[in-house]
């Protein structure tokens, strides 16, 4: 069966819009199965918004919905993102 997802890496543009940085190399540990994988290696599903899922167990890592006046973001699991200041 043809897979229907893309890679988190392919969402780098949107993620950079939301986080102000390219976070595809950031490692996230799944709260459900413990898999540690870079955001770029998560599975990306596109619909009305974008959902990134854990490559190990498919649990939701992040949901992003872009509405006309705002972006809505839901983040799950253990992530640490360090952004330089200034």
């Amino acid at each position: 069966m043809e897979a229907t997802w893309l890679d988190g890496n392919g969402m780098a543009g949107l993620l950079t819009e939301v986080f102000g940085a390219d976070i595809t190399a950031v490692v996230r540990s799944c709260g459900s199965c413990g898999t540690a994988a870079p955001i770029g290696a998560h599975r990306a599903y596109r619909g009305a918004g974008v959902v990134l899922r854990c490559p190990g167990c498919e649990d939701v890592a992040i949901r992003i919905a872009q509405l006309p006046d705002r972006t809505v973001l839901e983040v799950r699991g253990a992530w640490v993102v360090e952004l330089p200041r200034g």
Partner: protein, 249 residues
């Protein structure tokens, strides 16, 4: 685990087409002049945005085919017959035209000479583009790091960068392997079947050598190759995948 991430505003920029070159019957390479282009790392991509007169916008991601050391940013675009964006990029667009793009992006699927090797690159069709950027980078930096490339195409005529790859393969450290899945031309010395475990073992390097692996192509191809590599014993964390489609072309 955490990592300091480079922060940079991602803005849409108007790029001007400098040149369009036919690669195959279905694919072109488009070279752009991009004002204030910050440079890229081999393997990264850009987002391309087209806007219709009525304001409708379509956005697609394309891997960068040029090497970081090349003078111009170049994308190789394969025309998908019923696609929304690719028939315009690979059919209508010509020198002097302007399109919007933003990038470079995609820190996960990228390689620098400093990252070291050995390298295993596996491409399906136009999935060769970002891997070609890596090989152009490797060549520009006169790197002799062990690199193996396996390219799968349907026919010889659909094999991208054929001549350039032969020239690169004359240099030290690079082995180029090809397989055609729909034909076997006279005198063909490559494989003529889909990528399978025996083929990947013949290409190497062995899992014990801990190669950095980059696989790019259509979703089904990448899924099959990545699964096979892991079954052969490669570290799943070292297998970087870039799938394209189904995005409507």
């Amino acid at each position: 685990m955490s990592a300091l991430v480079a922060r940079r505003a991602l803005v849409w920029t108007v790029a001007t087409v400098a040149e369009v070159v036919d690669e195959t019957a279905h694919a072109v390479t488009i070279a752009f002049d991009v004002p204030d282009w910050p440079g890229h790392v081999a393997g990264q991509h850009v987002d391309v945005r087209l806007t219709a007169p009525d304001g409708y916008q379509a956005e697609r991601s394309y891997s960068i085919a040029s090497g970081p050391e090349d003078g111009r940013l170049a994308l190789t675009v394969e025309r998908i017959a019923d696609g929304e964006v690719s028939p315009y990029l690979a059919g209508v667009l010509e020198a002097g035209d302007e399109i919007e793009l933003r990038g470079p992006i995609g820190a996960h699927f990228s390689w620098r000479v400093e990252d070291g090797g050995p390298l295993l690159l596996v491409a399906g069709g136009s999935g060769l583009a970002p891997l070609m950027s890596m090989l152009r980078h490797r060549h520009a930096r006169a790197s002799e790091v062990d690199a193996r490339l396996l390219v799968s195409a349907r026919t010889l005529g659909e094999l991208l960068y054929h001549r350039e790859l032969e020239q690169l393969a004359d240099g030290p450290g690079l082995a180029v392997h090809r397989t055609l899945t729909r034909e076997r031309p006279d005198g063909w010395d490559g494989w003529d079947r889909r990528v399978d475990p025996a083929m990947l073992q013949a290409v190497g390097p062995a899992p014990e050598e801990r190669p950095r692996v980059f696989v790019c192509g259509p979703t089904g191809f990448v899924e099959h190759v990545a699964e096979t590599l892991v079954e052969l014993g490669h570290d799943p964390g070292a297998v970087h995948a870039e799938r394209f489609g189904p995005t409507g072309g």
